[in-house]
Symmetry: C2
Subunit: 133 residues, 2 copies
DNA sequence: CTGTATCCTGTTAGATACTG
DNA sequence: CAGTATCTAACAGGATACAG
């Protein structure tokens, strides 16, 4: 395992092969279905309340939404504001850091728009080819 | 659920909230631990044989490596070349499409290098704060 | 309204053993 | 060498019920 770190690892302090490396944690973040959805939702619609997010993302369970929100808050991706009114009110908004993550997602979006057709074509071709000789 | 697609969905034909949308499939792709590792490995070291990949990525099981490789081949991300020598030899190399995915990963890398310190700081601050009043 | 706690199920991935 | 097949353990995630 150490061999991997040395042979392929961090040419300049960056090693995606090391699970503890920041890059891996970021991949975990943007790779997470709900995280990316929350980032996009907040990025597109500005600050939202818990119930609004719940409605927007429709399909997310309370458990996953809360869990995702907590994790993102912990990572400094969003700000959680509690207003102690009679029925409690909680607003969530992207921090500048969270907004910058939205930019990364935008790059992903661009790649998808530019190349996803190729992927579909490749997939169709692969599935159509004879099941080996 | 349909409400979500309409309210937040594809302002211009792109809807990350739709699981069948290309963007989601891409997220699934780059979010996958092993896919990103294989892309980086092949991108950094050029064509590699199965056994070399297995060694490079150290920690991946045969099952996951094969599964990942098959999926990537299907998606047109890499090319699989079988040389029917006495002991069979199989080489894997990135296609132009796969190489372009490496570029996306590069953006991710840059974001990580630029902001991951902030994430760590936020996390430390969050973990250090009192467990609520 | 905004969560927390619990149970329960499906998927996933690692280990292991075997084949062309 | 380069896989395939099978079994099982771990865990993520959904449903549900309840609380501040």
């Amino acid at each position: 395992m150490t061999a991997t770190q040395e042979s392929l690892g961090a040419p300049r302090g960056f090693d995606a092969f090391d699970a503890s490396c920041p890059s891996r944690r970021l991949l975990d973040a943007i790779g997470d279905k709900w995280v990316s959805l929350v980032v996009v939702a907040l990025g597109l619609r500005g600050p939202l309340r818990y119930s609004q997010l719940s409605a927007q993302i429709a399909g997310v369970s309370q458990k996953m939404l809360t869990q995702t929100l907590r994790g993102m808050e912990r990572d400094g991706l969003l700000l959680r504001t509690v207003t102690p009114s009679v029925p409690v009110r909680v607003d969530y908004e992207l921090t500048p850091l969270g907004a910058s993550l939205l930019d990364v997602l935008r790059h992903v979006k661009e790649w998808a728009e530019a190349h996803m057709g190729e992927v579909d074509a490749a997939r169709a071709a692969y599935d159509a080819r004879p099941p080996a000789s």
